[in-house]
Amino acid sequence: MNMKTFYWLIKREFWENRGSFLWAPVITGGVFLLLNIMGIITAEVLGARHGIQIGAGGDLQHVIAQMDAGDTSKVSLTLDIAMYSAMGLLSVVLGIVVFFYCLGALYDDRRDRSILFWKSLPVSDASTVLSKVVSATLLAPVIAVVAGIAVGMLQLLIVATTLSFHGVNMWQLLILAHPFHVMFNLLGYIPLYFLWALPAVGWLLLCSAWARNKPILWAVALPVATGLLVSWFGLMGLFDLPTTWFWRNIVQRGLFSVFPGTGSVFGHQGHIAVIGHSGMDFMDLGNTYQLLASTNLWVGVVVGLGLLAGAIWFRRWRDDS
């Protein structure tokens, strides 16, 4: 595959989906910060009106100076959570964006017939489909994470500034936080997201390339209807598996794996051995990447590749009719 062509295919996806790839996380982040600032102002106003002085007269500063190791780790945990929380919200937005992007990626241009323009160019259908996969699983997450980091940093500054009004040394607080560590963990999670999301991305793109109309209906109704049949007739009993197996491994995996973090929540067979003391340490790459040891992940990757091959085939032969 020609790398230059591929670069421009990705760029094309960004042009078309600037609203959902870029503005959705940026606006969500902005609203998140605004709500936080409003919350802080409300708290300050209420506090002042009721004569409650938080850490007045350098008390809080004094408290921090007196803290022992356990207490400082609690403060840094609070600050790290402040950073992660922004990303938590953006992850949900990212999941929604990727879900609908995949459903429309190979369908919308068939519906408005612009596929006839794209197909008039010397670009293989495999490159087209792969450019959509990369846009969904790498481009959109990278933009979301960068936005998440920016929002997280601003959030951190807002919290620190607020506390500094109450006599706390802002720099001392910021030193207690681990912004670079958090950034590293978030960026490092993207490849894992790619692997985990692959079967869902494959399924959604397949429906998008195959459905003659309403791909969302097919994408959702097909697995859910199958799930209901399976539950009704207790089919999973044939394989000695509970009915929930189907819902968890087929329906949920095929539709919701595009939501970041679902792999870390549902992907492990047993318990993961969280290395580290507590708090947000489960976000450390050493912990999150234990998912690589799960068969669930790799079976999903293989199934996802198969579904993508199907999507490429349908992209080749489906036209605007």
């Binding site: 062509t5 017939r113 612009s114 323009f117 197909k119 008039s120 010397p122 036209d319």
Partner: protein, 285 residues
């Protein structure tokens, strides 16, 4: 020179109907071929087969490629405008030019920009803000800047006003066409293309019913204006078509000698549309 397109035994069946029925033809380079047929005759199916957009049975060779298996290579040499307004509505002029410039190895950016400079299109304008005529101008500017050996136009001027239509064919002839290029065009506005065509193909019910170059068409088909008293003599020669104008009958003959016809009345060269109407008689009946 070898043919640009060779088709033999081309068939395509949709669920309900046969869109192409054992079609064979050959198109030489440097021609402008009009593929003319009524709605649903199989024109678009034939073009889609040539472009590798649909599956079919039979043999088809386009510029040495099999469109089913070698579509990616083929599209480096072929351009098409399939219907008006298939450009994505979100794209800007600048983006469209950028994209094609970087993806198509035979695209000449300077040429494209020169074409665009003659229009009112603005670099930041989106397709959704353009009229149908402007969209076609953009599409034509993109396509004419590509040095392709085969250009396929499927109803390229449908729904455009006469100014845009004239300009479209004018640009195509003046700035694009040369002896190394081949153009296939389908259209219902036969009058507008008939003087630029070098070859004519009529398609009806999935079959090619006429495949000839324009000179041969002129020699083969003759129209005669016959007074009422000689009409029966004309009918005896088995005309293709007969219609009445101002009390005279106009007969269309296929392959009847000129000397024989001159005796009946005034001879005329039939227009492609008259020929078309005569050939397609009863299509929708």
């Amino acid at each position: 020179m070898s043919a640009v397109i060779t088709a033999s035994g081309l068939s395509k069946r949709y669920k309900s109907a046969l869109a192409l029925d054992d079609v064979s033809f050959r198109i030489a380079p440097g021609r402008i071929v009009g593929l003319i047929g009524p709605n649903g005759a199989g024109k678009t199916t034939a073009l889609k087969a040539i472009l590798g957009l649909t599956d079919f049975t039979g043999e088809l060779n386009v510029l040495g490629f099999d469109p089913r298996k070698q579509r990616d290579q083929l599209m480096g040499e072929v351009c098409f405008i399939a219907d008006v307004a298939v450009l994505p509505r979100w794209i800007r002029v600048r983006q469209a030019v950028d994209f094609v410039a970087h993806v198509h190895p035979r695209f000449d950016r300077a040429k494209c920009e020169a074409f665009l400079a003659r229009t009112k299109l603005m670099p930041n304008q989106r397709v959704r803000q353009m009229s149908k005529g402007m969209i076609v101008q953009l599409h034509l500017a993109l396509v004419m800047a590509i040095d392709a050996r085969l250009l396929i136009l499927d109803e390229p001027t449908l729904g455009l006003d006469i100014l845009y239509r004239k300009q479209f064919y004018h640009s195509l002839l003046e700035d694009y066409f040369d002896e190394n290029k081949t153009i296939i065009v389908t259209t219902h506005q036969v009058e507008e293309v008939e003087h630029i065509l070098t070859d004519l193909m009529f398609i009806r019910d999935g079959k090619i019913v006429l495949d000839a170059d324009m000179d041969a068409v002129g020699e083969r088909f003759t129209e005669v204006m016959v007074n009422a008293d000689r009409a029966d003599a004309a009918r005896a020669l088995q005309p293709l078509d007969e219609r009445q104008v101002f009390g005279k009958s106009i007969f269309l003959f296929d392959g009847v000698g000129r000397a024989q016809l001159e005796a009946l009345g005034e001879l005329r060269r039939p227009s492609v549309s008259d020929l078309f109407v005569a050939t397609m008689k009863g299509t929708y009946a």
